[in-house]
């Protein structure tokens, strides 16, 4: 990944420095959710994939623009079905993305996380559900804020 964040996150010495023996894995290493953790692990056990060798398409690279600010959460409830997000879906949330009107966001409202559609207003913002039966939320508490923007929704299709 070529964002400046990524480059800096990897601003380490050669991960293989100090290791005399190669411990090449025969299988792909276990996929990790946190790209940062993944890099640290690679720093420990060098994998040929982390060098020059091309490793094909990388889902982390595709789904995560800014690893430092990206978090995974699991959705409960069905108020966002109208927006295509179902109970049990996983969402990839980037905290560094500025929400725009229409963005699906994770917001902290009255001490809990909630998943809603962000709508900008003249003074502040509102949160809408994908289901008209749920009321529009107007943030009142001083700590209410947008945590991050949902960039991807993951759903398993086959069991």
């Amino acid at each position: 990944m070529d964002t400046p964040e990524r480059k800096n996150a990897l601003k380490t010495a050669d991960p293989r420095a100090g290791i005399s023996e190669s411990l090449a894995p025969d299988e792909n290493p276990r996929p990790r959710m946190s790209p940062l953790i993944d890099d640290r692990i690679r720093a420990g056990f060098p994998s040929p994939a982390s060098g020059d060798a091309s490793c094909g398409i990388d889902l982390n690279e595709h789904l995560i623009r800014n690893p430092a600010a990206t978090f995974f959460l699991v959705v409960s409830g069905d108020s966002m079905v109208g927006e295509g997000i179902d109970d049990g879906d996983m969402v990839i949330v980037d905290r560094s993305v500025e929400p725009r009107s229409g963005s699906i966001v994770v917001a902290a409202i009255e001490g809990d996380f909630t998943l809603k559609r962000f709508v900008k207003t003249a003074a502040s913002f509102e949160l809408h559900s994908g289901n008209p039966e749920y009321p529009v939320i107007h943030p009142k508490h001083e700590d209410d804020h947008i945590v991050g923007v949902v960039c991807w929704i993951l759903r398993k299709c086959s069991r």
Partner: protein
Amino acid sequence: MFALIDGNSFFASCERVFRPDLWRKPVIVLSNNDGCVIARSEEAKKAGIPMGAPFFKISGLVERHGIAAFSCNYELYADLSARMMACVASLAPALEVYSIDEAFADFSGITDASALGVKIRHRVMRWIGIPACVGIGASKTLAKFSNHLAKRNPRFSGVCNWLDLTETERLQWMRSTSVFDLWGIGRKLGEKLLEQRIRTVFDLYGADPALMRRRHSVTVERIVHELHGIPCLELEEISPAQRQVLRSRSFAEEVSDIGEIKAAVSRHAHSAAAALRRWNGLASCVGVMIRTNRFKAERHFGWDVTSLPAPSSDTLVLSAAATRLAGRIFRPGMKYKKAGVVLLELVDANTRTGDLFNPGDSERSRALMQTIDSINSRYGGEAVKSAAELVGTKWHTRRERLSPRYTTRWDELRRVDAGTTNTGFKEPVSPRRPDFSPPRSESATRA
């Protein structure tokens, strides 16, 4: 010019990232085995919780003030720390990761240092959800001192630039701060300075550097120079956090017995721990890899990493963690050719002494390790070995108040409620485990 970026009450702040219900509420984090307090939020300090207090002694206070107490979730803290450092690195030209929650940045050539400090602070809050303070000064010592001021005085709004203060203000801050609060002044040295009537930062600032060198050490002389804005310490970009100790070896014959694998892993942990202590380091994470012959049809490469409750160089702790990992990644029926242990996320044991937020190895274990090392160096090789393989299986720590590892485990992800709002806080981990685990990873690591 240097900046020091430091996460506020870091462990307590980490516990709050996924718990907005705990903002502005008192939060404490407990040491290994839920023994004593190692981190306190501002509110917990105000409630009168002393640092290092044994948990059983403050349970009344905890109850009365509704304080949220957590077991040390080192895995969560380490991940959020790595994110915080990456976030700071996206704005700072060069960075030295100094500890789990502190980094020095090179600010030389930056025209508006205060503005950059504010930007870093905001970005860390925005991206990671961790509040941080920034101190800026002509030397590392002044950057650290300014950070100390920023943290304790709301008037700085989290960013204190020594270069922006007037001479009167500087003298005032130096006069009102104890010399013990200065970076590099430990308890012993501080007491020696007290004997010479050097009580405040200002007293040391006014001391003769040459005299300080004669009476104490070059280090103290250096601190005096640094207080005058003459930088003596440089940015160390290759920090101990990026070094590692690795031990691995091929077996003489292929091994398919878990007992033998564990014994080998324990031996490697033993030797790696000794090397770590020679270097005077502590490891925060332990990794283990085992692999079969690469050229056979039935192949397995198993590896996993775990973080320790607190950084350690204790052979027993490291080897117990390593053998436990080996048991987890081992697949019965496979013939293994090689095993290895790696110690990661190393920190300097020296810079951690007097570091209250994580007591780590006890004095007793440190003394034991020194004894083992001296016997082994006298009689060669590994005259003294631990019964680590046996300990390994029984080893467990008490962590009853452990929060989920929200960022590093598939089955501990935070839930976000879409359905209803204003229903109050729900347990972040649902009893129904979401099925997102990639099936291949399961089979690759757990037999």
